[in-house]
Subunit: 346 residues, 2 copies
DNA sequence: CTGAAAGCGCTTACAG
DNA sequence: CTGAAAGCGCTTACAG
């Protein structure tokens, strides 16, 4: 069915070795022979089986990317960054995502074996053992936002703590004191980091945080929507909502608008990630800026560093700083407004 | 470095054939031998090289997906659908995207050779020849929204014409007559289809469309933003803007808000695709609903149909209908409003 | 129940 | 400049 090097060799009346040389652009082939072979290649529409080549070359020219999910703009931005960087090196990308349980992650990991030269893992659920026992030893692994303290692997982690702390500091600075948060999953380490940042900001300002203002979400728009509805039902409405990612902020905005409230006049909203759509929302969304695209690029750079200096370089552990992207979804609160609210606080 | 079947066989004191049998769960292996091998497999953390297996089995258990771009939510939704459907079949996904020119597409196509059992192509720029000459013959190919009339390939196409026509009919029905459109690229076939739908709606209503109301975009938020600014500079402002995808609608909304105008009170806006975020925008975006996620699922179903009935079934050509998703971003216009505007028309 | 051997499609020293 | 042969890591008839 599919043309092989053997068929080309036969038709051209040469050995497969010579065909291989022509295909790979070696110089030491007689011009006439080369042309004859090229012609046959074109006739038969021959394309080398790169999987077979990878087997013998021990280089697949591909790297794998393991993602937990594909909802929202965050992950596609990561893919975009990775893909771009990978292509720049003439490499290719193998993406595997939407894994709900360990079994699926294992299957994905095993699938990568022999098909990639390195792997980038961005799955909050993986642990070192799972990785170690399902990946051939020696395969470079870069962990993206995995909060997994294995010094063997390179890791790149977003500074969720610092980002959340800065955002809340900003909100406190412009007069907000009742700030509701919409968290990620209970066991999500990233969410825990951001919550720690949220609380720390209060402490830094000599204030106390209010646990009854912490609502659960799961990083989806729908969960942000639901959580915001709960927030709005509170006897005393917070003056601001801080969603732990932009998707949830988008959902929250929907719920707030539906309740007939204005943003930021009646309530301020901010998010985390600064996904591309954030600046186009109305009002434009104040968010903790994460260089999402660059995250992918950085991961790829680490991969190639490991690939090029096999065993020579040791694993790097990078904490990616975030910056505050202040737009128009949060307003300044006057003291009176807060005080009047404070009074009826329970 | 990486453990091979040979090393396992050696350590277990058996032949590689027996190890292979155990790995693949064959029954005809002595229980003791099996256990001994299993133990060694665990000790050595052996995972079979699936690329090598694919070579001999002539089945890679992977399918390829070729995408033009990764901006916005549209393509990640497609990936999500494809990945989900593929995983259901215990298959894996190989994604390749962001190809700007023919060279890159060719490289991606050739890379797939030997690594996938079938390929789904969603690239407006590919032509039959490119596909045919860079893909081994016999490889099942499913075209997604490619507008490429090659009966050899399965194809799934969104009814852009019908969707745009219905949307404009709806707008005309609620009193809009000056409807600006923000198009995709000049040479983009999908954009052309939608434009045809836009114009046809006018004709169907016994009206004439106004070419000066057709603005160029490129399906990105930024281009929607820019185009909307142009629209707002028009001497006589249209009462509605129809963006040919939701990303551009999002950009347009940003520009409108920035100009201090209200949606839909001052101007109505609608989009195409109905990406997940559309319903959470404020106001919620009226859009032509495309079953994006299902598009991926359908493509995978076609792939497996071809795979399971090798050569027996012939290529299917599916036109995917769209539906109108009416939300709150378009308002009804009274006759007077239109007339007063009509007067100063140039 | 187990192993030796052939072969998947390729590359690369080694001869000539 | 070219070919025969070995080998990448695997599976699968074929013997025994």
């Amino acid at each position: 069915m599919k043309t092989t090097i053997k068929q080309v060799a036969e038709k051209a009346g040469v050995s497969i070795a010579t065909v291989s040389r022509v295909i790979n652009g070696f110089e030491n082939v007689n011009a006439e022979t080369r042309e004859r072979i090229m012609k046959v290649v074109a006739e038969l529409k021959y394309t080398p089986n790169l999987a077979a080549r990878g087997l013998i070359m021990k280089r697949t020219e591909a790297i794998g990317l393991l993602l937990p999910d594909l909802h929202g703009e965050f992950f596609s931005e990561v893919i975009r960054g990775v893909d771009e960087a990978v292509q720049r090196q003439q490499y290719h990308l193998l993406v595997s995502s939407s894994h709900n349980d360990t079994k699926e992650i294992e299957a994905a990991l095993r699938f990568m074996r022999g098909r990639v030269d390195a792997i980038i893992v961005m799955s909050p659920q993986v642990d070192s053992d799972l990785l170690l026992s399902n990946l051939p030893k020696g395969l470079p692994v870069v962990l993206l936002n995995c909060h997994l303290n294995n010094p063997h692997f390179d890791s790149i982690v977003i500074d969720g703590f610092g980002g959340a702390r800065d955002m809340v500091s900003y909100l406190l600075g412009i007069g907000h004191t009742r700030i509701a948060v919409i968290k990620g999953g209970e066991n999500n380490l990233e969410s825990q980091e951001r919550l720690r940042g949220y609380r720390t900001a209060f402490i830094n300002h000599g204030m106390t945080y209010n646990k009854s203002l912490e609502f659960d979400g799961d990083f989806t728009e729908a969960s942000g929507y639901e959580a915001a509805r709960e927030v709005l039902e509170l006897e005393e409405r917070p003056t601001a909502i801080f969603a732990f990612n932009d998707s949830m902020a988008v959902g929250a905005i929907g719920a707030i608008r539906e309740a007939g409230l204005r943003i930021p006049n009646d309530i301020s909203v901010c998010g985390f990630d600064d996904i591309p759509v954030a600046k186009y929302l109305s009002p434009s969304l104040t968010s903790v800026h994460v260089p999402i695209h660059d995250l992918g690029v950085m991961a790829v750079n680490r991969v190639f560093d490991r690939l090029q200096n096999k065993g020579k370089t040791s694993a790097a552990h990078i904490l990616v700083p975030t910056t505050l992207q202040i737009r128009t979804s949060c307003r300044k609160i006057t003291v009176q407004q807060n005080q009047s609210k404070e009074e009826s606080s329970r």
